[in-house]
Amino acid sequence: MSVPVHVVAEVLASKRIGAFQHLTLVAPGVGERFRPGTFLAASVGSPGDPAGRSHLGRRALWIHQVRPLGGYAATVQVVVEPVGPGTRWLAGLERGDRLEVTGPLGRPFALPKEPVPTVLVGEGYAAAPLFTLAERLRERDCPVTLVLGAVDEGHLLNALEARRTARAVTVVTRDGSVGARGGVVDVIDDVLRRAGADVVYAAGPVATLHAVARAAEAHGAWSQTALEQPLTCATGLCQGCPVPVVGEDGVARTARACADGPVLRGDRVRWDDLVAAGSPS
């Protein structure tokens, strides 16, 4: 885990694509330290505006892409789905607006040492970290199969781009507006079998992650699940994001979603306890 920075970022571009707002940020130090699976935490409210103190919780966002752009070495792209006050504020930012961000945060996806077949599963905006992950995997000669799910076409992250890096892409939507009708859960076994995957990477709601972890175990594959839990500080300070896990030693423990995660081994998470503890599933 590299050391995160807390900086005032500037919006370089903001573009609506389907249901999501894609923001490109100049956030010195964040992109440089990025590894797939890490995220950043944004504050709601303009820096220096005392109204910023009215929302004390942070908003976690997957780092989608890191690219040199407009003279900056490593701009950071995030994908925002406006669902509440914070994400709506973020989605409304325009070029030149500023915001406080901390990142990169959390532990990234672990990469295989050998060139083994991999399956990457992402649902909605949570597919964001998978594209750079796919690039890294291809660099290591790991064949990549991609599974993208969403409620409808508007909530599907750029599948076109994905086809360039992936060997195969499966798309499922709840309403069947694109790809097969259904959920990730309906296709995961089939995909794993056909891909002969050794490692499965997944990002999405808890129910999806749990299903993927279970399927991976059934196929004798490792799973790396990127959890989204409500994070207040996102930096490991508040003890607000416990995830029940089992340690290497088989002993039940509690991990912090933000600091020990967001990526955890699927076979280590006690999924049922997580839901029982009140986590949104």
Binding site: H6, S54, H55, P230, G236, C238, Q239, A277
Partner: protein, 283 residues
């Protein structure tokens, strides 16, 4: 240099209990050594798992928290957390709470004999005591006195007891007096206030929302007693720190603001250091 109950602190800015993680997380944003002190999350005799989700909820300019005080227990703390903090040259104030006076005394004994503990802060009124609901809460002044005395008796000279009080303007002076009479070398005025989660569970309310209430309690205590006070509750800006120091506090604790901006303590330390050249921009 700030003097607090015989301790020489590098800065008047302290990290409040439970808001700096184990220290490791905070250290990413500035050296712990530069802080006045690092107050640990509240440590209990036995390990505690903490409460149900959601543990924190945003409120207008505040945070409701019901963490249930998760911690590895005093032995776990001494084995895994304290040594690392000392290695960073942090001044460590250990916050404690217990199910009984006997447990409190036992905690003090173990901490008192552990080299490197700068002070012990008694959490006299945890606003949420977790699903177990089993931790002592000092409601009356005599309970404050008893808890402080139980700790004070067991600590060696040079390890002061700080009593952390509920900032309830109407009763805080009585509680403060009881704490001082029982041997508290300093007071911390600025515990979270008793609030309710939207789902009705007990929780503490912290953050800028409660600042004016904490300031009132500080004023009441300082008007009545001649005792060093560490002021907490809602502090986020240099102006907030200066207002508390101007009101007579010896030092301040920063809590919820760190969850919003993990560099807050480091920024305040820098802005208040004697060689700070300019004011930070307000945030």
């Amino acid at each position: 240099m700030t003097l607090l109950a015989g301790l020489r602190l590098a800065s008047p800015v302290l990290v409040a209990a439970g808001c700096g993680g184990t220290g490791r997380e905070l250290a990413a944003y500035g050296p712990l050594e530069a802080l006045g002190a690092f107050t640990t999350r509240t440590v209990t005799l036995d390990a505690r798992a903490g409460g149900a989700l959601p543990r924190l909820v945003e409120t207008p300019s505040g945070l409701l928290h019901a963490t249930g005080l998760p911690n590895p227990g005093v032995d776990g703390f001494l084995a895994t957390e304290l040594p690392w903090l000392l290695q960073q040259r942090a001044r460590v104030v250990v916050s404690v709470a217990a199910r009984s006076l006997a447990e409190l005394a036992e905690l003090a004994r173990r901490l008192g004999t552990a080299p490197g503990v700068s002070a012990v802060e008694v959490n006299l009124s945890p606003p949420d005591t977790g699903p177990e609901g089993d931790l002592m809460t000092a409601r009356e002044p005599f309970q404050v006195g008893a808890a402080v005395a139980a700790v004070e008796r067991e600590l060696p000279r040079g390890v002061p007891v700080l009593a952390k009080l509920r900032p309830d303007a109407v009763r805080v002076v009585e509680a403060a007096r009881a704490a001082v009479d029982a041997g508290a070398e300093a007071l911390v005025v600025g515990q979270a206030l008793p609030g309710a989660m939207p789902d009705g569970r007990d929780a503490g309310l912290s953050g800028p929302a409660v600042g004016p209430l904490a300031l009132r309690c500080l004023t009441e205590v300082l008007a009545a007693l001649d005792v060093p006070v560490v002021a907490g509750g809602g502090i986020t800006t240099v102006a907030d720190v200066r207002a508390r120091l101007a009101a007579g506090a010896v030092a301040v604790q920063v809590g919820a603001a760190l969850l919003h901006d993990p560099t807050t303590a480091a920024r305040l330390v820098a802005a208040l250091s004697p060689d700070a050249t300019s004011e930070e921009t307000p945030s």
